[in-house]
């Protein structure tokens, strides 16, 4: 009995470590590449560790492309995405969970059904909608003449500002909170908005944290939609910048890895600090059906 338990343990550690190496090695390898001199990057047989640590690739990456600007853009877009999703998500999540009104079930059902619609089908229409936003970006009242919200950060922020996922996530959390606070606050003459804002919202901090991190990650990592709507180089996100940089440099793997490390690092750092919330968020996306 004891012996078989030990064998099981041994297998566990061997298999686990082998997989862990596969999962983590690309990160380590690119980190090592980014601090190696060029001659050691392109060497056969390979040299694992640099003889001298160099930051020339980081300097080159930042000198040839405004990665600082891209980092700022991505951070701005991700933070705005978090802000609007938390705000609108908790507002409507609260209404769907706690308030009674006509059409509640139907409207919520439609929002839920929309989560099932593949993103690709609305990709082109959303682009045209943004292009024809009335009175914005040189457009007249009929949405003609200019290019609306295209090539503007709002083109990224607005379509994703009130995601169905955020609404559903917050609703599920509000459902777990008791109705009693609401009832007694009403008797005390508290307004509905204050009941939501001052009484219930503070109780959802853990849910807000999970949703916030989740939304931040999605925003930081998103690629196709920003690629479609942002054309100015000064508006590029890190993902677009990184892709363009790679495309231009082709074989300059040193600077390429340096840039990639800079872009992965923030999200890994956040993950390490807040792993608990990450896991909750992923778990929840599993329960959504």
């Amino acid at each position: 009995m004891k012996k078989s338990e030990n064998i099981k343990k041994l297998i566990f550690y061997i298999v686990g470590s082998a997989i862990a190496v596969v999962m983590v090695m690309p990160f380590i390898w690119s980190l090592l590449t980014s601090i190696k001199p060029d001659t050691e990057i392109f060497q056969i047989p390979l040299q694992w560790f640099p003889s001298t640590i160099t930051f020339e690739h980081y300097i080159e990456a930042f000198a040839s492309v405004p990665f600082g600007r891209y980092l700022f853009n991505s951070a701005y877009l991700a933070v705005m995405g978090v802000f609007f999703n938390l705000l609108f998500g908790s507002m409507s999540g609260y209404a769907f969970a706690k308030l009674k009104f006509k059409g509640r079930k139907v409207i919520f059902g439609i929002l839920l059904a929309a989560m099932m619609i593949p993103g690709v089908v609305v990709m082109i229409p959303q682009y045209i909608v943004l292009n024809n936003m009335p009175l914005l970006g040189g457009n007249d009242i009929l949405g003609q003449g200019g290019h609306g919200l295209l090539n503007n950060f709002w083109a990224v922020i607005l379509p994703g500002a009130a995601g169905s996922f955020a609404v559903f996530f917050m609703r599920q959390f509000f459902l777990t909170l008791p109705d009693e606070y609401m009832e007694s606050a009403r008797i005390d003459g508290c307004s509905e908005f204050r009941i939501f804002w001052n009484l219930y919202l503070p109780l959802t901090k853990p849910a807000l944290a999970t949703l916030g991190i989740f939304t931040f990650q999605a925003g930081w990592n998103s690629f196709l939609w920003p690629l479609i709507v942002l054309n100015d180089r000064s508006l590029y996100t890190v993902q677009i910048g990184l892709q363009a940089f790679t495309f231009d440099k082709q074989t300059a793997y040193g600077p390429m890895m340096a840039a990639t490390i800079v872009i992965i690092l923030p999200i890994i750092a956040i993950f390490m600090y807040l792993q608990k919330y990450f896991v909750e968020g992923v778990n929840f996306s599993g329960i959504k059906s």
Binding site: M23, S92, A95, F101, G119, V129, P159, N221, L224, L242
Partner: protein, 311 residues
Amino acid sequence: MRWNKLNRAQEGVISLNSVTKKSSFNRYQSRAAYFLIAPTLILFVIFMVIPIGMAIFLSFTNYDIISSMEWVGLDNFKRLIDDAILWKTFRNVGLLTLFYVPLMVIISLLLAVLVTQPFRGVTMFRLAFYMPTVTSAVAASIVWLWMLNSEYGLINQMLSYIGIAGPAWLSESAPAMTSVIAVTLWLGVGGNMIIYMAGIKGIPAQLYEAAKIDGASAFKQLIHITFPMLRPTTLLISTMTLIGALQIFDQAYVLTQGGPANSTKTIVYHIYTTGFEQLQMGYASSQALVLTIAILIFTVINFKINQNKAG
């Protein structure tokens, strides 16, 4: 105590008023509710309801953003039939899905079983397995671009240690598709592992105890207890993975640029090219519509397969 008495004394009055009070509360409540859901609904109508309607309408038009829209009837759909690249991308994505979805289910389930073992250090493994999931598909693709470099990449250098000359991963069609699948798996198994973990924790321990008494091996327990008990989770993961797989773009765009010779070009990549590079928005919409229908059909088939297994 005094409050109670007071309440009881006023009960008559309150119950008299309660009818009118309740309805005014409700009216106030629903007004507040509409106010709270208004921003979500407005955005939903602008960026979801209207676009869905437009998606269908656009399929019957020619539209290039610059000149005005032109109604062409079924022309776009007729053109679809002869669109060799489109059907090639469908084949590519079909092939990718065929390998990627089952592998995703099996690997993430096995990883979840591994990291729910009661041994020390298991959290470190969880962390390591989940790490790729937080990185973007773009960054991951670039890291793997270097890993898979035919001359200096880590993979081929390691293979040469054991006397194997690795292929030029990204410039031959079969290895390129394998690479796209592998990178996508590397990127995604961690997330599904966590969903499976939650499922495994929900399986009653008695089942395993009974199996142990009957002398069932660990493998038999996996096949006869863990997997059947996780069927709802598997249905969920396979559905989400399938829908994601049919819409893959980032990896193909960055890792292989769809090459060599369009062998890793995906459907969404083709729609992107048609719509936003060639500005044939009407035609691209009809392509997107076909993809949407395909996604719907495959989702239903997937449901059926998983239900049959359950039956």
